[in-house]
Symmetry: none
Subunit: 407 residues, 2 copies
Amino acid sequence: MKVLLTVLDGISDRPIKKFDEKTPLKKSDTPNLDHLARSGVNGILDPISPGIRAGSDTAHLSLLGYEPRDIYTGRGPLEASGAGIKVKKGDLGLRCNFATKENNEVVDRRAGRISNTSELVKSINEEISEIEGVKVFFKESTGHRAGLVLRGKNLSNKITDSDPKKPHKEPKKIKPLEKEAKKTATILNQFISETEKILKDHPLNEKREKRGDLPANTVLLRGAGKVPEIDNIKTKYGIKGGLITATGLIKGIGKICGLDIIEVPDASGSVDSDIVAKAEKTLEVIDDYDFILLHIKGGDEASHDGDPEKKVKFLEEKIDPAMKKIVNNLDNENVVKAVTADHTTSSELKDHTGDPVPLTINSSNVRKDEVTKFSEETYKGGINRIKGRNLMPILLDLANRTEKYGA
Amino acid sequence: MKVLLTVLDGISDRPIKKFDEKTPLKKSDTPNLDHLARSGVNGILDPISPGIRAGSDTAHLSLLGYEPRDIYTGRGPLEASGAGIKVKKGDLGLRCNFATKENNEVVDRRAGRISNTSELVKSINEEISEIEGVKVFFKESTGHRAGLVLRGKNLSNKITDSDPKKPHKEPKKIKPLEKEAKKTATILNQFISETEKILKDHPLNEKREKRGDLPANTVLLRGAGKVPEIDNIKTKYGIKGGLITATGLIKGIGKICGLDIIEVPDASGSVDSDIVAKAEKTLEVIDDYDFILLHIKGGDEASHDGDPEKKVKFLEEKIDPAMKKIVNNLDNENVVKAVTADHTTSSELKDHTGDPVPLTINSSNVRKDEVTKFSEETYKGGINRIKGRNLMPILLDLANRTEKYGA
């Protein structure tokens, strides 16, 4: 049997006052998600462990069966990998923003929401390929984002960010947090100053300024982390896995874990994304894989915007029609279908919280329970409460793809 | 208070299509098991951890509170101990089959299901007691089975099996999987060739061939493992424990953990076993012990045979009458009675699966819940979901036999 794991990013929530204490999941009319719950086995899942506020990165690592405490040092290498840099074990990765600086003050952390930085990146790469004997890889990602990777000896992720996080602040000098990180900090500060020289009179910035747009005249760095050494999915579980996502960070995790990235042109990672197209792509490729991770982002965005109505709308008008495709086309004799979230995102707090998330597993061989709706009330089901890293062993066992431990 | 832990080997199952999606436990009429659940506290238990397909050996170690990942290297030493070899820490143990070889091909892995090999074992022991300075211990077990132990320096369990597993294959040469295992592989290959010389013209084999039975003219080795260093039950928990089982492997685990093996002549480890005799033996000896592990095997056998009806029959006609003895004779003021399984065995897959198993704990001091039947639906009970290694601390706490941790 194959496994399809659908992760509804941040779909879980806390009770919403104006929804009469219902969560968006509980308020939504989602007959297809509910069908999966009603004919499946249900429970709740702590992405990391109870009460821990997971990021999407640490949660996805955990859902894939890795122990983030052993391998996660920062978001940088995952973003850099997602941007398309072929990272290697031991590389130092960072997240970058193109930004606008005036009088040594960051006036816009996103450089007027610049949408295409490839010309800038090209110029930077022409000038900078090595600093102090350390190789430098730089690549644009979506919008104002980019990834930076350093490859060489004695690099450390124990450094501060240059990103001041808020506008109208000076960009910070990157500082070492341990003696061994001095060299890394020096290289990165040099990267920033050399980049600023390249960007200062760049033709693209001149064009932007002429038409009244903010110039992308600096880069802000944050999220330094080392690329971990991990067994990929193939080695770990003996399966061929694919990933469908529009989110760079999740792509980066997929690449590091050895999942094939399956592109869907009309998927955007926002509430306007074509989720049915993602479901259709899943149906198209599932025969080529043992395992597909289908990641759907919009619900998280709605919560970060503090808009639970948008979350309900996204659930009813985007997610559930996509689930209908899956329910109608993947039979439960051949595919173990699981639906969960990577973390709770509170629409009132506009941020992730440490609450558990719902989990439904649907296949012909599960012990069905009495849960009838996919919501935070799946706690009443037969799975009770598990941790993120327990999920893959359960799904692969149901798919009859595991080795016996002992005799 | 005393503790009686009844382990119904492989009794848990997945939904059975021809049972209208009921499991054998759910389908069975077992008033006495159900009485224990109805007046007890219930939950589900992951023998190792969620989704992990446990063997009976790793599961029993876990149920006794040991961490198999720290101590388990293979089934061999447990089988050898179960056969009666007094194993010591560091010994290398292997499982053996007497088999029939013709033209260098294994024609029967069980030597015509030979029932008594003690004469063969005696001859082998007369000839072989040491190879290359390493002591050799060999002992017959039930039927065609035997245990082999090597005692000496620099032995390794990182070797391949000689058993080809399927008939009409050549027996394999034992090969080292690491450099340090070369000596062990050499000794074992020499043991096999010397044994074959002894068996070739053995009077018992001549007799067998005369009456048309297959000769036991070779031994097949597998399941190499080192005898672990573990605290026995007495040291670990301060209790005197006894074990009632008809299964060699479980006896071996009991011996290694310091449980007294209590024999019941009419117990066979099969569906035809006299389980009531085991319950009666339990009543007879419980005054001499703080803890009894009562192991009942037949349900697992029925599942491995793909026969859920046989499992139901065994539950109704063998297990439940034995439980009646226990319910009627061990009052819940004096004995904490727990019933669980070591793993799920799917009657449709005919093999172990990673699903959780039911758990009932019955004593006067438990917080009773609303569960009314001993089945996989014990997930609704007050224990929720625990791991195998959590069970002993819970049972010993209810028996008021534990030390406070802290003040």
